[in-house]
């Protein structure tokens, strides 16, 4: 299990990719998959590229060149959405790496009730995102929410977690981390467990302190897990929509809008061409960030 996860962490740009399977099966064997791929993936991709260049009403499409893209970047709240998306991706991904690692260290130690605690950490991952969002929205209500009422009982006036434009995006990001850190933890647990104990024994004999053992043995050797967690959570953060929509709908105003929620609002308003252009922008942005990041993380791994 542990090894499988560690190896499974490099599917995005495997440097050892070779045409090992070429000629292994007859051509017709690939046909069903090829048809599904063409109809359900290739066709919509090219169709969306076309519609992003039009003013589209679902019934007719007028070609307007790159006007939708110009519009998308001209509007302040669309640009704000881009910035927020990056903030959201970095904050959620960063916290998931740090907290996931710390929790994994705790849960691989000889702690009492380890199996139960592992289940507890993973449990939020299994719950519906929208359900979590609605529950936390109620708890974060500025005057009647559980969090601020608890703070008020010890004399602290809590902020409007979701209604103050300074905090709204970060509040949602924290809930996202709470919900998603279980998956990061499980990946890290797998990574830590797969490190051979001999390394630790050797380090101990050389007189390494626990701190040194963490920095020089654990951290480098869980690198595949780190790469997986960063890439998965960063992609998840960049395209995140459900949690934000359930909690703030991008509000107050446009202050917690991310690209995905901006795109959805354009679609709701009937700007189908513009929202398709937004999706193309999102696709390009994710590709531009993730491809180099994944290459970087994987190169470091093979260098070792």
């Amino acid at each position: 299990m542990a090894v499988a996860v560690a190896e499974g962490s490099v599917p995005i740009a495997n440097p050892r990719r070779k045409s090992r399977t070429a000629g292994l099966y007859p051509s017709w064997f690939y046909l069903p998959a090829a048809i599904i791929f063409a109809v359900l993936f290739m066709l919509p991709t090219f169709a969306s590229l076309f519609f992003s260049l039009t003013r589209w009403t679902l019934q007719k499409a007028d070609f307007i060149g790159l006007e939708n893209f110009a519009q998308f970047f001209r509007e302040p709240f669309l640009f704000q959405g881009l910035v927020n998306t990056l903030i959201y991706g970095v904050v959620t991904s960063g916290l998931k790496v740090v907290l996931g690692m710390l929790l994994a260290l705790l849960l691989t130690s000889d702690i009492f009730g380890r199996g139960y605690l592992r289940a507890v950490v993973f449990f939020p991952v299994l719950v519906s995102t929208v359900g979590v969002g609605i529950t936390f929205t109620a708890m974060m209500h500025p005057t009647q929410g559980l969090i601020n009422e608890t703070l008020a009982s010890i004399g602290i006036k809590g902020p409007g977690w979701l209604t103050d434009p300074r905090f709204a995006l970060y509040s949602v990001a924290l809930v996202d981390v709470w919900k998603g850190v279980g998956l990061a933890t499980v990946i890290y647990i797998a990574g830590i467990v797969s490190i051979p104990l001999e390394y630790y024994e050797a380090a101990k004999i050389d007189g390494a302190t626990p701190w040194q053992r963490f920095w020089t043995v654990t951290l480098p050797l869980v690198h595949p897990a780190t790469a997986t967690v960063i890439i998965l959570s960063f992609i998840g953060g960049l395209r995140s929509f459900d949690m934000i929509w359930a909690m703030t709908k991008g509000g107050p105003g446009f202050t917690s809008d991310v690209i995905a929620s901006v795109i959805y609002k354009q679609y709701q308003a009937g700007f189908y061409g513009l929202s398709t252009a937004g999706n193309v922008v999102l696709f390009i942005m994710v590709a531009l960030i993730i491809v180099p990041l994944s290459m970087l993380l994987n190169r470091q791994e093979t260098d070792r």
Partner: protein, 430 residues
């Protein structure tokens, strides 16, 4: 055990009987589907209308279905029209939202139906397509966009209904000094934030009579028309003066209705249809809430911005257009008005000729009616005079109304939003 088996058998048998009965009657009945928004008052009204119509027309079976309101509802209507899956009759806004669903291409022309003789012309204008044909009939009553106010607070502090903005702000100051919330806002549901801007249109057109036409042609802008900017500025002013309820950013529409009815706040800028929500949420306080138009600069030219009722439309894809027309004709008749009054209460004047309201209407409605009568001062909201309404207004007014964005900035941003909508509609001059 035996008991349970028997019950199960009995249930199964009745189930079969019911299914057979259903099959038998479905054969000679025409099924007409009817789609409307899920506001409780709409649902009550729509169900009552369907039942009354079925009683009169035993060969037609109205199958009701509700949908979300707001932006989700807009989305659903557009998608179902585009995919040819629209119900035989559907309820949707008149005015600019009606224009956005491409009526000429999607809807059945009802200009020459006999029931149009009963419909008041001012409504017909708001459901007329670009080809000059009429595509709908009214359901529900006309509304006013203005200020709900709490009558006990006004009595307690000895205030009188303001006719000018200065008087309104002076009242607010006294209410705040008395330790009460002067103005309720409920940005937890963003659509409720638009009234300061949209409800100010009577005052805009009083100063700039050609605004609607120039705005549609792309010549007049909110940011460059001082009278139109006022709505944004006033929303900002009310926030800056600290008149809002503490939870304004998270409160919802039902919260706002409850607050205004129970006296937790003195003013709530809202459409007058909220009277049906007061009836539902705080019926014992129905006589504690009054209504006045949003005041402008000049007390002498005070008047009300009015909203048209929603329309009923028939899509071209309907398989039973004649039965659907019969149902629409029933709703737009005096009998239909009476069913609506009984089920949803009297909320304002009907747009069907000779429809009457009962004598004992709640104060919100009796405050509203004089604006509509002969010699009253009212003008339709901009969305009934122009096909363009920018979809992001509610987010912009939330930002202006919570001090995130300045009024001038908000107006300029809204002009951009309007431009997008005009381009999407393919209007000339943009």
């Amino acid at each position: 055990m035996l008991m349970r088996n028997l019950t199960r058998a009995a249930l199964a048998t009745t189930g079969i009987v019911v299914i057979m009965a259903g099959a038998a009657s479905a054969q000679d009945k025409v099924k007409v589907t009817f789609l409307f928004d899920n506001a409780p008052s709409t649902v009550a009204m729509a169900e009552a209308l369907a039942a009354a119509f079925e009683a009169k027309n035993p060969n037609i079976d109205i199958e009701t279905e509700s949908r979300p309101g707001g932006a989700d509802g807009d989305n659903l209507i557009k998608t179902r029209l585009a995919t040819g899956e629209m119900s035989d009759v559907f309820l949707y806004n008149a005015g600019s939202l009606f224009q956005a669903i491409n009526p000429v291409q999607n809807l059945v022309d009802v200009t020459d139906e006999p029931f149009q003789a009963n419909v008041i012309d001012s409504f017909k204008a708001t459901v007329t397509g670009t080809d000059g044909r009429v595509y709908g009939a009214p359901i529900g009553t006309a509304m006013g966009g203005g200020m709900l106010y709490n009558i006990p607070i006004y009595k307690e502090l000895g205030l009188s209904v303001p006719k000018s903005w200065a008087e309104f702000m002076a009242n607010n100051e006294k209410i705040k000094a008395a330790g009460k919330t002067a103005v309720i806002q409920t940005f937890g549901e963003t659509w409720t934030s638009q009234l300061f801007v949209l409800g100010d249109f009577y005052n805009v057109q009083a100063v700039v009579p050609t605004f609607a036409a120039d705005y549609t042609a792309g010549k007049a802008k909110y940011a460059s028309t001082p009278a139109a900017m006022k709505g944004f500025e006033r929303q900002e002013e009310v926030f800056k003066a600290g008149y809002l309820n503490e939870d304004f950013a998270a409160a919802t529409f039902p919260d706002g209705v409850t607050k205004i009815a129970t006296g937790e706040g003195a003013h709530y800028p809202m459409l007058s249809f909220a009277v049906s929500n007061i009836k539902e949420l705080a019926p014992e306080h129905i006589n504690d809430v009054g209504f006045f138009a949003i005041p402008g600069d000049d007390a002498a030219s005070n008047g009300l911005t009015t909203w048209m009722p929603a329309g009923l439309y028939i899509p071209k894809t309907s398989k039973h257009p004649d039965e659907a027309k019969a149902f629409v004709a029933f709703v737009a008749s005096i009998e239909g008005c009476d069913v609506q009054t009984q089920s949803a209460g009297a909320t304002g004047p009907y747009l069907v000729k000779d429809c009457t309201l009962p004598a004992d209407v709640p104060p919100v409605v009796s405050d509203l009616l004089p604006y509509f009568q002969e010699g009253g001062h009212s003008a339709p909201a901009l969305e009934y005079l122009s096909p363009i309404k920018g979809p992001a207004l509610e987010q912009i007014t939330v930002e202006v109304g919570s001090g995130i964005r300045s009024a001038a900035d908000g107006a300029a941003l809204y002009d951009e939003d309007v431009k997008k909508q005009a381009q999407q509609l393919g209007l000339p001059g943009w």
